[in-house]
Amino acid sequence: MLFSTLSFWLFFAVVFATYAVLPHRWQNRMLLLASYVFYAGWDWRFLGLIWLSTIIDYLVALRMDRATGPARKRLLAVSICANLGMLCIFKYLGFFADSFSDLMAAIGLPADPLVLSIALPVGISFYTFQTMSYTIDVYRRQIAARTNFLDFALFVAFFPQLVAGPIERAANLLPEIEKPRILRSDAICRGAVLCLLGLVKKIVIADAIAPSVNAIYASPDPSGLDVILATWLFAIQIYCDFSGYTDIARGVAKMLGFGLMRNFAQPYFATDPQEFWRRWHISLSTWLKDYLYISLGGNRGGRLKTYRNLMATMVLGGLWHGAAWNFVLWGAYQGLLLSAHRALTGRRKGTSEGVAPSGWQFLRRVMAIALFFQVVCYGWLLFRAVSFEQIAYFTTLILSPATPGWATISMPSVPVAALLGMIFLFFWDAGTEWSGRVRFYLWFPAPIRGLGYAGMIYLLAFGATTAPASFIYFQF
């Protein structure tokens, strides 16, 4: 049940109508049931994994709350082992088995490859990280263990963010589940605007440019310019695909009275790696910072240890995305960028969102944004490539502009609606960036906003001619 399909919106209409007439306790029970139905729509066989993770972390946290001393540590280890164990079996076992047999073969000791065909449960990386954050927070005594099992189960399985985040923190989402919620018309309107924006990003832009990107990354013989254009487009595709999903998740949750965390803050307006990671997939980057980087020692052991911790965090963050070496390489690239930037400029706090430079400073920032975008895009090449050979080949192509035919374009053209969508998105993101307010559009009078929303709906219809594609981050 993709957010970008009619079946999801029919499902949500039924959920919303039922939700609106139920009292709080029953609202939660109904949402839990709806969340399991939503997940079963993907693959009912993996519901057992969510239940297992839910039961283990619920019981572990309850016991941990009452325990003292080393027993707490042991209980935490049970939770982490159970969650990471599931993740390892379902996501990484096949990858490590293949890599081991490749390695043995490379050193002349051929091993019988262990053939594993384990299906990847959709959203497993998201909900295991979310439940782990709960037990770690209980262990750190930042929150109290919850006694209401159904509320906790809803925290794990809440359908808007179940399969691709944002990875919510217990301290944020659990109180929202526990407290009675009021359906407010302004929240419903804001939620609807977020959904509309997310649909434009996903349907009009991401799905429409995907065939052009796929054609070049599947091509045995693209030109250097093809690779550059396809990688730029992939940068836009992955942003629109993932942030579109997040916008819809946040919009749907907002209409139900929940406030999910912001996951993207105009990432391509970043001018350096530190700022980029404060703007891109914020729920994952803050998770990695709070539960991995700081646990490894953070920046407390001097410069070298800081760089080591940054590298380890980003490599594991890369591996979180998928069981493939190119994701590890992408993580290492991000770690190197962060370490190098930190070494050169020191630690940077916050982002420049809401800061409107003028004159020469504005020009300098635009140039920095354009330059750093190329750095980000090379990372996306590593991320999107299908093999190391392709990475090496495409890198060589990009760096050989003197080769005959370098500027030949064979990439299929991008639909007009997608181009219009990109222009619209640029102005939307620029408005948010310049104003520093995600709801900058509220500055406009209601009739103008109405016209704007109608324009977005028209654009959606204009662009909705491609077959719906799955969200990229579902595979993680």
């Binding site: 693209p222 109608a454 219809a461 001619t465």
Partner: protein, 372 residues
């Protein structure tokens, strides 16, 4: 008034205003003949009955496919040409396919000027159209001729259709063709459409009962028939609703195509079409050659579907993906056809097959050499 009522009303009013503005602008563009691709973008979303009616009313519209590829007309033309042909020792290449095959054969003719090619095809013709033409044109071939059928990967889903009007929503050429289904033995059952000719199509406007019967047959037998493409044609007045229809109809038809390609009966029918084609051609003393065109669509993998039949029957074939990789976008033109240089390579490979099969009169080699 609550914002929950006020804002949706405002959006609705704005949407209506935008739609009226778009309708006005499009009609001005059409009148002045400007804004071609933008106008087309909206035209593509017109309902299938709406597009066919517009084509019928305006024969000079660019891209009008109303009159193309009707089978009886093509067969009549073929019979007339055949009657005029001077019978001689020279075999003729009788090709049944589509623009892809025509382009390859045209390059083959250029490379070897003594070749005589007689081709018959339809835009994006599906294998059932091609096979029906081959069957019904039997009288217009001679022993010693080379019979060719082209199978285009992206058109295989048309095996479940009776007309291009159900398969190609944006360009619904109304020409028709039968559906072939496997029978219990090794045979094929042929189900013909009740509308077979352009004249019959023209007469539908004056015969509502027959029009209803034809629509009912499509809805019943054609696996690509999408109600989204046909319902509520009066909504064509709204450009916005045309965009919505285009989205719903194209996704519904894509879903139906996937279902046809996953239907073992349809793929079995394709195998039997190829086997029957080779058998009939050989019975008639002709040399059968199958051109398998693996184009940009990717699916289905024609060789995976047909390999056994081709090998068991020792049927000569040209598989384009043996020569060019369909995952390489640089081999295609913007409209999805192979680039001319690719067609030329495929033509050379085709001529090699002809030589391997000793398909041409030995005298021809001398004539070709002289012509070069």
């Amino acid at each position: 008034m609550s914002p929950l009522i006020r804002m949706p009303l405002m959006v609705l009013a704005a949407l209506v205003a935008l739609d009226l503005a778009a309708a006005g602008a499009l009609s001005v563009f059409e009148e002045k003949g400007i804004g071609g691709s933008l106008v087309n973008y909206f035209e593509y979303g017109r309902s299938t009955p709406g597009k066919i009616a517009k084509w019928q009313a305006e024969p000079d519209l660019p891209g009008n496919l109303y009159k193309v590829a009707w089978r009886p007309g093509a067969l009549k033309y073929s019979a007339e040409s055949f009657a005029k042909e001077v019978e001689g020792p020279k075999p003729v290449i009788r090709a049944y396919g589509m623009s892809f095959t025509d382009r390859i054969l045209s390059h083959a003719e250029t490379e070897r000027p003594s070749l005589a090619v007689d081709s018959m095809g339809g835009p994006g013709a599906s294998p059932n159209y091609v096979f029906a033409q081959f069957l019904d044109d039997r009288e217009n071939r001679r022993p010693g001729d080379v019979a060719i059928i082209g199978i285009l990967a992206s058109s295989v889903s048309g095996m479940g259709a009776m007309s291009n009007q159900t398969r190609v929503f944006e360009q619904p050429a109304p020409f028709t063709f039968p559906i072939f289904r496997p029978t219990g033995g090794h045979g094929l059952e042929r189900l013909d459409p009740i509308i077979e000719s352009l004249e019959a199509q023209n007469a539908l406007a004056q015969d509502p009962d027959r029009a209803r019967a034809w629509h009912a047959q499509l809805a019943e037998e054609d696996k690509l028939y999408s109600p989204f493409a046909y319902a509520l044609p009066w909504l064509d007045r709204s450009p916005f609703m045309r965009l919505v229809r285009r989205s719903l109809a194209t996704s519904d038809i894509s879903r139906r195509e996937v279902s046809v390609l996953g239907d073992p009966d349809m793929l079995e029918a394709l195998r039997r079409i190829v086997a029957s084609f080779a058998k009939i051609a050989r019975e008639d003393g002709q040399i059968p050659i199958v051109i398998l065109l693996q184009n940009r669509s990717g699916a289905p993998d024609l060789m995976a579907v047909l390999e056994n039949i081709l090998e068991e029957g020792d049927i000569p074939y040209l598989l384009t993906s043996d020569i060019v990789d369909p995952s390489n976008p640089s081999i295609f033109e913007g409209d999805g056809h192979f680039k001319p240089e690719v067609d030329a390579r495929l033509a050379t490979a085709f001529l090699d097959i002809l030589d391997r099969e000793n398909a041409l009169d030995p005298l021809r080699a001398d004539q070709d050499a002289a012509a070069r």
